[in-house]
């Protein structure tokens, strides 16, 4: 018998974990001498109190959807992709090259082209660790970490020595041409009469991210490939027995994962900065881990968790702006979420399981024992 009903597994456990993380975060805020209630209020007004706030919240959420999905699909194959950061950085390079060197007639075509380029670059960056894992058994966690650093060095080199326009001092590409500028929510909602802040960077990539969520749900739960990925993730030996080629599954999964992480760049590089700067990913690759853990690797969960983290991110930025609480508060919250929903999962789960078991035994006691088989 399952120890817990499904609703407890998918809703109760994450909620309790989240609650614990929130309580600890509040304590941290108290400890640095600030008022948690006021902080939360400020975060809510800053992130959700205006279309400007929403615009940033959704902008960040878009990033996190991509990276969260990237980590999730890898989790389904029991692969831990810590390399989202590097893959997204490379995706940015793909976007920059596509936008700078191809004369796109219209943003919509540019979006498709840039998304493909971003996906390809991200996928390529994930494919190497995947290949090494599949063929040489190199632990993918370590190799993807290493690839994050290598990506940082590579991008640094490319921006400083190759893509930096002549005479410019900062290591960044030049601005993308006007034609590839993506419509923001302001542009998209104005025709239907909704006034949305024009300063906020949320843009059409949000729709792409939502589509990616739907696509991934379909891929994982409805297709034969998804079935193979899940099989492999649950039991490698069984997948081998069934004749599902491990090399193919690892490669395909990681390529999809890397492509998703890379595609984040259509949001931050193409949609927001409109040029490639150093460290454009800003840790979103790592936040993807927290998002995937909290969302239980389910696309719907990832969607919700990404919005939550978008809120935290924007709210945290507001806090940093108007109070003396540094932005690092978000990093602490993120750490606590990863800790409680990921590493300390059993701390929440074990007592719950015991409670449900006891409840079930109590329920079944009065009746004469019913043999199950």
């Amino acid at each position: 018998m399952d120890l817990m009903p499904k609703w407890a597994e998918v809703i109760l456990v994450p909620l309790i974990s989240l609650f614990l993380a929130a309580v600890l975060s509040a304590l941290v805020i108290l400890a640095i001498g600030e008022d948690p209630v006021a902080a939360v209020k400020m975060m809510v007004t800053g992130a959700l109190g205006s279309t400007y706030g929403w615009g940033y919240t959704l902008y960040y959420a878009t990033n996190f959807m991509f990276t969260g999905l990237a980590v999730s699909i890898a989790f389904h194959a029991r692969l831990f992709n810590i390399g989202g950061e590097g893959q997204a950085a490379l995706g940015g390079l793909g976007v920059a090259l596509a936008c700078l060197y191809i004369p796109w007639p219209h943003w919509s075509l540019a979006l498709v082209g840039a998304a493909v380029a971003a996906g390809l670059f991200g996928a390529a960056w994930a494919a190497i660790p995947a290949y090494l894992q599949a063929k040489r058994g190199s632990h993918i966690v370590i190799t993807t970490i290493m690839f994050n650093f290598i990506a940082a060095s590579l991008l640094n080199y490319v921006l400083v020595n190759m893509l930096r326009p002549k005479g410019s001092m900062d290591p960044a590409t030049e601005r993308f041409p006007e034609t590839v500028h993506l419509p923001t929510l302001h542009d998209m909602l104005a025709p239907i009469g909704i006034e949305f802040s024009r300063a906020a960077p949320a843009n059409v990539s949000l729709l792409v991210a939502v589509a990616a969520c739907v696509f991934l749900w379909f891929l994982i739960w409805r297709t034969r490939l998804g079935y193979e990925i899940r099989s492999f993730g649950n039991s490698e030996s069984a997948a081998r027995y069934a004749g599902m080629p491990p090399v193919k599954i690892i490669m395909v999964t990681m390529v999809i994962s890397g492509a998703l992480a890379g595609m984040m760049a259509i949001n931050n590089v193409m949609g927001e900065a409109e040029r490639l700067v150093l460290n454009s990913v800003e840790g979103a690759g790592f936040i993807g881990i927290a998002v995937a853990l909290m969302g239980r690797s389910h696309p719907l969960g990832v969607f919700i968790a990404a919005i939550l983290f978008g809120f935290l991110y924007q709210g945290g930025a507001e806090l940093a702006l108007w109070t003396s609480i540094p932005r690092e508060l978000i990093v602490v919250i993120q750490a606590l979420v990863i800790l409680f929903t990921g590493a300390l999962d059993n701390m929440v789960r074990m007592p719950l399981e015991r409670i449900f078991l006891a409840a079930r035994l109590r329920r079944s006691e009065p009746k004469p024992e019913r043999k199950e088989v």
Binding site: M1, D2, L3, R222, T223, R224, L225, Y227, E228, R230, S231, N234, S235, S237, A238, R240, Y241, A242, G243, M244, P245, E353, L357, R360, E372, V373
Partner: protein, 532 residues
């Protein structure tokens, strides 16, 4: 040894649950000093759990333990060792890349520094070897010695800690009959010295031959404790399963036809480069069951794996006149299925099923590319579910609920799901490993019937089992494997367990007299040449 001396061990009211599984229910037992006490019971009856509690590996939920009449708390193995208990686990607890000596002193070192401990252990080991004939190479790495030797190391570990109560959990599962005989001689020696021994086994013969008293467990409960001299195998079997047992399979003589599987000079190397199959040849015809007997770990698993498509090999394998791809692109489970080969793997939980998947998802497992189960790149879930309902009904899987996860079925029902999936494909060749491991008597009968029925439909069956009884009952021909070779083939009617046992120990000249030492040497050095 006097009648009124306190029992060496007394357990009172021991209960233990693993989550929802009640592995031990209110168990009480007394074991007198200087005796060999047998415990028998089906798979999953709770024998290992009970002994692990006595050894402090698990903690009981309830109950008391008395050692030599004194109430003793055994919260961990340290306490058990202090109380003079030693245990040889069903699955050995050795550090593979440590030497024998290091394994022996682990946890029983003298003082903080290793050198003197090792030196002392080396001396003691020599003495023990002289006393009991337990010879081992002290500086060999565990990963380089055979299972029989590993078991010796486990026994030596217990003796080194001066255990006077020794628990052995299914010690003979990995031994040849001759090796087992030697083990039992050692146990008799130990008993003669006043040590108390608890012996867990499935094999009624071992119980009858060696024990003084025997306890029977069933479904977590202790059903009886009797003097061995006052009982019979039939009575024990009945106590074990709760009803009369019929250990015979009704079958008509085989009518072999054309050769379906033709294997020639098949070789397999494991990932360390050790040769596991050393060029074996065999044939299976339509309408017959070829049984492969042998001690676990002599290449049977590799044989199934390479035929099933998930290990690479060299040599020639021809199925229905067409060669099989042994290393290339078409050497995988999918291609094998396309060739009419079905495979019930040895370990259903690791290979045959995905425990987290529902029954219907498992029924599609390996056949998810089947046109009936798919639509385009998608899975046709509705069709699979419907098909699963039919299969569950025909194979009497209980409960017949396709949505239930595989982990929530009992072992026997899990095995039935795998069988239904593979047999209903109506394959030309069925590869089947350990078909009834961990399955209760009722289900065993059903499974055996299914295998014979497939044979009678004119299909070829290659059966691998470590249970000699099962091999004898089902096979039309028996091949014995030892150290990656086939030692010989026999017809069931013209052989017996003794002869098969010698073959299983690598001795082909079965008519000549053989010393235990020779057999031992053989087993210890199986696979040596390549290991280094």
């Amino acid at each position: 040894m006097t009648a009124n001396s306190a029992p060496a061990i007394e357990l009172k009211g021991i209960s233990k649950a693993f989550g929802p599984v009640q592995a031990n229910k209110d168990i009480s037992i007394r074991v007198m000093p200087g005796t060999i006490h047998g415990i028998i019971g089906e798979n999953g009856a709770g024998k290992s759990t009970l002994m692990s509690i006595l050894y402090g590996f698990y903690k009981a939920d309830r109950g008391e333990i008395f050692i030599k009449g004194k109430k003793t708390q055994i919260p961990d193995s340290q306490a058990a060792i202090a109380a003079g208990i030693g245990m040889v686990f069903q699955h050995f607890k050795l550090v593979e890349n440590f030497t024998v000596l290091e394994n022996i002193i682990l946890g029983a070192e003298d003082g903080r520094w290793l050198k003197p401990s090792i030196a002392k252990a080396r001396r003691t080991l020599l003495e023990l070897a002289a006393d009991y004939g337990l010879n081992v190479e002290p500086d060999a790495l565990i990963q380089d010695i055979g299972v029989g030797m590993q078991q010796r190391v486990e026994i030596l570990k217990a003796l080194y800690r001066q255990a006077d109560i020794l628990i052995l959990d299914e010690p003979t599962g990995v031994l040849t009959p001759a090796e087992a005989d030697q083990l039992f001689r050692i146990l008799s020696r130990l008993r003669a010295e006043g040590k108390t021994i608890i012996l867990i086994t499935h094999k009624l013969r071992e119980i009858m031959d060696t024990t003084d008293t025997v306890s029977v467990m069933r479904r977590g409960e202790m059903t009886a404790t009797v003097k061995t001299s006052e009982t019979s195998p039939a009575e024990l079997a009945e106590l074990m399963v709760g009803r009369k047992v019929l250990l015979r399979v009704d079958k008509t003589p085989a009518q072999p036809k054309e050769v379906v599987l033709d294997v020639k000079d098949l070789r397999v190397h494991d990932d360390k480069g050790v040769e596991r199959l050393k060029g074996i040849s065999l044939q299976v015809r339509a309408g017959e069951v070829l049984g492969i007997a042998g001690v676990a770990g002599n290449g049977q698993s590799e044989l199934l794996e390479v035929l099933g498509g998930y290990a690479d090999g060299t040599g020639s394998v021809i199925v229905n006149g067409q060669p099989l791809d042994l290393t290339g692109k078409y050497s995988d489970g999918q291609s094998r299925r396309a060739r009419g080969i079905a495979h019930v793997p040895e370990d259903r939980q690791r290979e045959g099923l995905i425990m987290e998947f529902s029954a219907w998802e498992n029924v599609a497992f390996g056949y998810h590319h089947d046109p009936a189960y798919r639509s385009g790149i998608l899975m046709n879930n509705a069709a699979i579910r419907e098909d699963t309902e039919g299969k569950m009904a025909r194979f009497d899987v209980r409960p017949p609920d396709p949505k239930l996860s595989a982990k929530n079925f009992s072992g026997g029902n899990q095995q039935k799901i795998v069988l239904a999936r593979e047999i209903e494909r109506n394959p030309d060749l069925l590869l089947i490993g350990q078909p009834t491991r961990g399955v209760d008597i009722g289900a065993i009968e059903f499974i055996h019937q299914q295998i014979i029925a497939l044979r009678d439909k004119g299909k070829a069956v290659l059966l691998v089992s470590v249970e000699l009884d099962e091999i004898m009952a089902l096979s039309d021909r028996i091949a014995v494997m030892f150290d990656g070779n086939i030692m010989g083939e026999r017809l069931p009617a013209h052989t017996n367990e003794k002869e098969l046992g010698l073959l299983m120990a690598g001795i082909t000249d079965t008519d000549a007299p053989h010393s235990v030492a020779e057999i031992e040497h053989n087993l210890a050095h199986a696979g040596d040449g390549e290991a280094k």
